[in-house]
């Protein structure tokens, strides 16, 4: 198993590909090329890609692109996808209006 912990390892230089313009993160409109470039900038984890590019940080919170991003990183780093952690799961699981989130129903047993 190849380790992704050494961030100085040589992963080759960024070479653009024909399909780099394809959107991966539909919410934030982040392309495959941008994600591949970010990996070559040293972003080796799903969390780092997310924070660097906003991929997976839009309205759907990466529900659609999560696996795509993970597979892209794995391919670019030549590791198996299982080696990479998915992004952190965070509440709320679906978008909630502030007035609703702030409106806590108090029920007494």
């Amino acid at each position: 198993m190849k380790s992704i912990n050494d961030r100085s390892q040589n992963i080759g230089s960024f070479v653009s590909q024909a399909d780099d313009t394809i959107i991966i993160c539909r919410c934030e409109e982040i392309t495959k090329g941008e994600i591949r470039q970010a990996i070559h900038d040293g972003m080796f984890t799903v969390n780092e890609i997310r924070r660097y590019l906003r991929a997976g940080m839009g309205l759907c919170q990466g529900q659609t692109c999560g696996k795509l991003v993970k597979n892209l990183i794995a391919r670019e780093l030549c590791v198996i996808p299982d080696q990479l952690d998915p992004a952190t799961s965070r509440s709320p699981m679906r978008p909630v209006e502030m007035k609703v989130l702030g409106n806590e129903e108090v029920t007494h047993v």
């Binding site: 050494d6 972003m43 984890t45 780092e48 660097y52 309205l59 919170q61 509440s91 502030m98 806590e104």
Partner: protein, 375 residues
């Protein structure tokens, strides 16, 4: 690859990354060891993004003022990453006489240090930010404050440092610091022993445990804080916001989403399972606080909430210092929730401290030994 470099930095947060970058720029070889799997996963990416001078302790204010003057404006260009630095002022809001008193005190102290900050009334506040509710009656206003994106700033420093040859190793928690012949020399991780002439401990709250291995203590406690972020909204305002009561703070990001931090008041009683999971009430409390100040945001949807640990110092001011008992060892931790805005200045000055033995800004008020009994 040799495991010896001029400097080892423990902790790949924004402090560690910025220091690594400025050290590399001076030509030093640097290794950064990060305990977790991700770069910048701690407080660096879990804060409200404030880049402010107002409301600060006078001991750290010079760093904040110097960084805003000298580093923040050119940072995006320097790092090649948009750190979204926006200098459109900071409103610290109050609703009551008690608030007014707190704000006035902070303002007076900052003015004495030469900061352009003043108290303004409700009408003046709403002239700056028309979305604020009528309940807001006073504020301190510092027009040179602002905000930036903590995520891209932290990773921007990482990217640039990496480009300059800094070696970053993740999942490398430091078990032990070791002196050889009285000076710092080794950093022990589960997989390897790394060697350097100088070591900087910038590992947030974990710094306490690491420093203890060479008999040094920084009195600090972990304090959980929670943040939340909305969906993208149409542009509303550009100021950084805070409140006298610290019930929330935040800003609208370049992306359009609002990033707010806040508290339920129970954070100091936190119970956790080892990771900074959000509490079940934190986000709700923060939302209620925000809506009172910004009724217009009631319909804004929260897309995620997160929690993080502050390394809260006994006197709520950072420790940035060389360690006399362990030559070659340096500390930059205990930022107490104020770290992000001063991070570039800290990195720059700590790099000077390590490389040159002195720094542009006098940091002596932030020494680690300030907690020792007075003689």
């Amino acid at each position: 690859m040799s495991k010896h470099t001029d400097v080892i930095i423990i902790g790949a947060g924004i402090i560690g990354n910025a220091t690594a970058y400025y050290l590399a720029r001076k030509g030093l070889s640097v290794t950064v060891l990060e305990a977790s799997k991700d770069i910048g996963i701690g407080g660096s990416s879990r804060n409200g993004g404030g880049v402010r001078q107002s409301g600060r302790d006078t001991r750290e204010l010079p760093l904040a003022m110097w960084g805003i003057k000298n580093l923040w404006p050119g940072l995006s260009e320097e790092l090649g990453v948009d750190v979204e630095y926006t200098q459109k002022g900071n409103l610290r809001l109050g609703k009551t006489e008690a608030h007014q008193k707190i704000l006035q005190g902070l303002t007076d102290k900052a003015v004495a240090c030469g900061l352009d900050v003043r108290m303004i009334n409700g009408d003046e506040i709403r002239a700056i930010n028309p979305y604020l509710s009528d309940e807001v009656t006073c504020a301190s206003w510092c027009p040179t404050d602002g905000h930036a994106n903590p995520l891209t700033a932290t990773l921007g420093y990482y990217k640039k440092a990496r480009e300059l040859g800094v070696r970053f190793i993740t999942e490398a928690p430091c078990f032990e610091l070791r002196k050889i012949k009285g000076v710092i020399r080794q950093v022990v991780t589960p997989d390897a022993i790394y060697e350097a002439d100088k070591v900087l401990v910038a590992a947030g709250f974990d710094s306490r445990k690491i420093l203890a291995t060479v008999g040094i203590d920084v009195p600090m406690m972990p304090l959980k804080m929670e943040c939340l972020v909305t969906e993208a909204e149409p542009p509303m305002f550009l100021q950084m916001l805070g409140t006298a009561d610290a019930d929330f703070y935040g800003h609208q990001s370049k992306h359009g989403s609002f990033v707010f931090g806040g508290s339920s008041g129970f954070e100091h009683l936190n119970k956790d399972n080892g990771s900074p999971i959000s509490s079940s009430i934190g986000a709700s409390c923060t939302c209620r606080g925000i809506i009172k100040y910004f009724p217009a945001l009631a319909d804004a949807k929260i897309v995620r909430a997160w929690a993080g640990w502050l390394d809260d110092c006994a006197d709520h001011v950072p420790v940035i210092s060389p360690v006399a008992e362990v030559p070659g060892l340096y500390i930059a931790c205990a930022f107490s929730g104020h770290g992000f805005g001063i991070a570039p200045a800290v990195g720059y000055n700590v790099a000077e401290m390590i490389a040159d033995g002195h720094s542009t800004i006098d940091l002596s008020a932030l020494r680690y030994d300030r907690f020792q009994p007075k003689q």
